[in-house]
């Protein structure tokens, strides 16, 4: 799976500009030892943004529960406790059935549960639903999942124990990270199995049972031991608490949100790679002229075109072949393709942005609606909205890489590269130059194509036909993260080849554009290694850390404007 690691100041900036529209200076710590100077996030179920998610997931930003949210939660909780005690009466004078509070789950909603077994009902739900398989989620994904679950509950419409939220916050603040297996969720009723694995660590009804696993201070521990070491009491689950922990597609949303953040940063990196390649191939800049893109005014295309122009300002390479009137599509149509990638990501982000602050529980406890029945059984947990977005995100990220690979092919093909050395074999460096890295890129692009088959298009009925159309959103999100990683490697390969090509152009006495020059200066020293694999891992590191985007944006501040 994709690893979200290290601090990523750059991505945080990018996403704040892209999706929030406000630029505020951030001082993020580099590694865990350094001071955190960000203020705490006050969870209120309504105002979480991508930056917050990234900061909590990756940079361990601290959290608290907003007092207003706490009050709202208390109100719905009081009603749930009444209903569980049989004090909410229906029109026949009987204790009102409330789904999951005093009934079984799923198709077992037909079964009534006596009040003395309500704690066991919640605990059984968590235990029997802990049915995940496969690799364990990364720390960042797990933290984002916990944050999103806490925020959904902080909306106050779940009627759950407030301590669930405060415990999740305490775990995030202290760095207790439960183990969540990534496979096995259909994303409808939410990510039931993944969230139940979280629940195993959080809940304890005093009976012996599996408490899951968690890491704390870098050690893998049994869930109960980890909580004890962190000094966080586990919670006896009350009515509805099991449902409240599990009903929502938070793993889907966590993975997709982090993919959006990294994907947004990667688009800028792809534009930087394009600029380097266009310069190396002595491309024609007219295709990027703003007057062109006003005529087909996709916002993404306009942004990309404007960025490309800014990156190449001052280049003596572009437009240096007078008889050349236009380039191949992989250069000329970059605004059309990468622009569509931008717009696609923005669509995906807009879906996820809603989900970041959504209630996803069932039933909802709506205290502002007239009683006596404040419980509304609905389907807000269904992952379709985010799953469709994730499927689209993987598609657009795959196209970004496909385009990049075609430019790479031109860079390495003698007859297409404006007289660059074939395969970019260096004069003083025998070997096959960039021949095999281009092959690697082709393999990655091809792999992406298989992975792009949409998960959302599939559904398999579950739970005795009660849950008869499921989202498969978790799989969509995981494939999106996988495609992101492959695409990032492809763009790293283009950067490596373009820098190698530009070394030839610089030797010919050419000057690079402002942005290209900054990227070249950062990347060029990284290319001196024994094997292409080693160079690629170095370049990948400066993409992931955000160092590449950052240094180019410092050289071309106008990119910031273009990026909004």
């Amino acid at each position: 799976m994709c690893a979200w690691y290290g601090d990523c100041v750059e991505s945080s900036h990018a996403i704040r500009r892209l999706f929030v529209g406000v630029v505020t200076p951030l001082t993020l710590r580099v590694g865990r030892q350094h001071e955190v100077t960000l203020e705490q996030i006050s969870l209120d179920g309504a105002s979480l943004d991508f930056t917050d998610v990234w900061d909590v997931a990756v940079n361990h930003r601290q959290l608290s529960l907003c007092p207003v949210a706490r009050e709202k939660m208390a109100r719905s909780r009081a009603w749930v406790l009444q209903a569980a005690a049989g004090e909410v009466i229906d029109e026949n004078g009987d204790a009102m059935p409330v789904y999951g509070v005093n009934t079984g789950y799923g198709s077992l909603a037909r079964v009534r549960i006596p009040k003395e077994q309500i704690t066991q009902l919640s605990m059984n739900l968590i235990r029997s639903h802990a049915a995940g398989v496969g690799e364990v989620a990364t720390e960042a994904v797990t933290r984002a999942t916990m944050l999103l679950r806490a925020n959904a509950l902080a909306k106050g419409s779940s009627g759950c124990n407030i301590e669930i939220v405060t415990t999740l916050i305490a775990m995030l603040n202290a760095g207790v990270t439960p183990e969540i297996p990534l496979q096995g969720s259909v994303g409808s009723s939410g990510d039931l199995a993944p969230l139940s694995h979280l629940g195993l660590v959080v809940f304890d009804d005093g009976t012996p049972g599996d408490s899951g696993w968690a890491s704390f201070n870098g050690t893998r521990l049994k869930g109960d031991v980890a909580m004890q070491k962190a000094g966080i009491p586990r919670i006896v689950p009350g009515p509805k608490d099991g449902l409240a922990m599990t009903n929502g597609a938070q793993l889907t949303t966590a993975i997709t949100a982090l993919t959006v953040v990294e994907g947004a940063a990667l688009v800028l990196t792809a534009e930087i790679a394009t600029a380097l390649s266009v310069e190396a191939l002595k491309g024609v800049s007219r295709a990027f002229h703003p007057a062109v893109h006003v005529l087909r005014p996709y916002p993404g295309a306009q942004q990309t075109a404007s960025n490309l122009c800014a990156l190449m300002v001052g280049s003596t390479l572009v437009d240096s072949i007078p008889e050349k009137v236009q380039d191949a599509y992989s250069l000329r149509c970059t605004p059309m393709v990468l622009g569509a990638v931008r717009d696609g990501l923005k669509f995906g982000a807009s879906q996820v942005a809603v989900e970041l602050n959504a209630a996803t529980d069932n039933p909802l406890i709506l205290m502002d609606e007239p009683g006596p029945n404040h419980a509304f059984s609905a389907g807000l947990f269904h992952g379709e909205a985010v799953g469709l977005a994730a499927d689209h995100i993987k598609l657009v990220l795959s196209e970004a890489a496909a385009l990049s690979e075609r430019r790479l092919y031109r860079l390495t093909t003698g007859s297409l590269s404006a007289l660059l050395p074939p395969l970019l074999v260096g004069v003083d460096q025998p070997g096959m130059g960039m021949m095999v890295p281009q092959t690697t890129a082709a393999a990655l692009v091809s792999e992406n194509r298989s992975l792009c088959w949409p998960s959302s298009a599939d559904s398999i009925p579950t739970c005795e036909d009660q849950e008869d159309l499921v989202a498969m959103s978790t799989t969509a999100a995981r494939r999106a993260a996988e495609v992101l990683k492959n695409s990032r490697q492809v763009i790293a390969i283009e950067l490596m080849a373009a820098v190698t090509a530009l070394r030839v152009r610089c030797d010919e006495g050419h000057t690079l554009g402002a942005g290209s020059a900054a990227a070249y200066a950062l990347l060029s020293p990284l290319t001196d290694a024994r094997t292409p694999s080693e160079v690629l891992s170095r370049i990948d590191a400066v993409i992931v850390s955000g160092a590449l985007n950052k240094c180019v944006r410092e050289a071309v501040p106008v990119l910031e404007v273009a990026d909004v």
Binding site: A131, M435, T531
Partner: protein, 492 residues
């Protein structure tokens, strides 16, 4: 080494033998192969092109390469080291080294025996270089093989590679073939699991065996017939199944047809992989008898790519059908047993979510079944303009196998849980009330499967975490190859 080594002859390497090598069996170069390699390498050095590597590099780059072969070997190999992603497991790397050594043993590569000896020593001394799993298109110069050569020949190695040997070592799609060998090996295990799981489910849902006995007479497919016989064998002695009840749903009635077809797909893959393990998957081809060195296309992985893509579809179909049977097992109205196979439903959710997990995995398999071989992206300056993507197909098959064995494990767990009710005489009438009826007897074969499952996973009485059960079953099912202890051996 106490065990006698597996002898590489270039003609006799089987998938089973390769799996034994992966799990630690030693290898040795056959004497005839050694003689043949000696003869061809000597002929090549005396009569072959002077600088075969320089010539090749010149063709690829489109310009003359000034240096001679000796100076080019290291940069040639290292510039091929462009793999990315997670490293392959040590098991796969051992098999990769051995399989490539077997290609050299064909005597058609012009490599000296000493080169094969370096590979063989690495396997026998369990030295496994880091080989990234991604970045290979399954044609010509392989990044994976280059990483292997880089890790074995340049530090502390007494063999200095010749240009022709550098080419011979890395020019081939052996990675895909080796991954394919693992996939075929694991597929056999899953086919047997699928038969065991199907039989168990048939007992629990009290299936009509008419479809099984008609199958041989219908003679639509030999493979289906073989599966039907295997199922009947499992069910022999059962009082749960009978002939002449109402027809079963397709996930049960048509299981022989589907499992049989999957078995055919595995056989087809096996034939290709078996052949490719002993083929001159290399370029150029050095033929002493014909006194020729020829540029050929033997490295192209299309054959492996096709059978791996077909295998993916077959395995996904097995998973998909198994999930439908699990759905029935957990569905009270369809199974005639308590919902989700647990008493006290409502308070207990039983095996409800096991079916979700299976559904999710099947859906994932569908995405991974998308064929890799339909794609091709031109590489190397229009020269390598159609590539096979075989390693991607084979890796996809292995990912599907991971999911498939989980899905089948889930069916086996649910099947054993259902069988417990049948064995003790619990049944649910249409009104949903649990009744006690006469206990029934299961077939001898199914009881073996049942006892195996119960040896790994306890009966579900009250809700508990399911993951440890799934993990234990999947581990038991994953145990494969010759290293498994009899204690863990599966009954099927």
């Amino acid at each position: 080494m106490s065990k006698s080594p597996i002898v590489l002859t270039g003609a006799s390497l089987t998938i089973d033998a390769l799996m034994r090598v992966a799990h630690g069996a030693p290898i040795a170069l056959g004497e005839e192969a050694r003689t043949e390699m000696q003869r061809s390498s000597q002929w090549l050095s005396e009569h072959g092109p002077a600088s075969i590597l320089a010539q090749k590099m010149g063709w690829l780059s489109g310009s003359e390469v000034g240096a001679d072969d000796d100076a080019l070997v290291v940069p040639f190999i290292q510039s091929h080291c462009a793999g990315v992603g997670k490293p392959l497991s040590d098991l796969v790397v051992r098999a990769l080294i051995a399989a490539r050594a077997n290609v050299l043993a064909t005597g058609l590569t012009g490599c000296r025996p000493a080169v094969a000896d370096v590979l063989i020593r690495a396997v026998n001394e369990n030295r496994t270089p880091v080989v990234p799993s991604q970045g290979s298109v399954g044609a010509a110069g392989s990044a994976a093989l280059a990483h292997m050569v880089d890790g074995l020949f340049f530090d502390d190695c007494d063999v200095v590679l010749r240009g022709s040997e550098a080419l011979a070592l890395i020019n081939g799609s052996t990675l895909a073939t080796v991954l394919g060998a693992f996939a075929v090996h694991r597929s056999h295990r899953c086919l047997n699991m699928a038969i065991a799981a199907t039989a168990l489910t048939m007992e629990v849902v009290r299936a009509d065996t008419a479809a099984l006995s008609i199958q041989p007479m219908g003679a639509r497919s030999d493979a289906a017939e073989a599966v039907a016989m295997a199922l009947l064998d499992q069910l022999s002695g059962s009082t749960m199944v009978a002939q002449g009840r109402r027809p079963d749903p397709f996930s049960i009635r048509c299981a022989p047809a589907v499992i049989g077809t999957a078995r055919s797909a595995v056989s087809a893959a096996e034939a290709v992989i078996r052949k490719d393990l002993n083929a001159a998957n290399v370029n150029p081809l050095v033929r002493v008898d014909a006194q020729r060195v020829d540029e050929v296309g033997n490295f192209h992985g299309a054959e492996v790519a096709f059978v791996m893509d077909a295998l993916k579809i077959a395995l996904t179909t097995l998973a998909s059908m198994s999930e439908r049977r699990t759905f029935r097992l957990t569905y009270g109205q369809l199974s005639g047993l308590p919902s989700f196979l647990v008493r006290g439903t409502g308070l207990n959710s039983g095996l409800m979510i096991a079916q979700y997990t299976a559904a999710s995995l099947v859906s994932e398999c569908k995405v991974l079944s998308h064929p890799a071989s339909v794609d091709a992206i031109p590489t190397v300056q229009h020269q390598e303009d159609h590539v096979s993507m075989a390693p991607i197909a084979a890796r996809g098959a292995l990912r599907i196998l991971d999911a498939l064995s989980e899905v089948l494990s889930i069916e086996l767990i649910c099947g054993a849980q259902g069988l417990d009710f049948r064995l003790e005489g619990t049944a649910v009438e249409d009104d949903g009330v649990v009744h006690t009826v006469a206990p029934l007897t299961a077939g001898k074969g199914t009881m073996v499967s049942y006892r195996f499952v119960r040896g790994v996973v306890a009966r579900w009485v009250e809700d508990r975490a399911l993951m440890p059960d799934l993990h234990a079953m999947a581990e038991a099912a994953r145990v494969c190859g010759p290293s498994e202890s009899p204690k863990n051996a599966l009954p099927w």
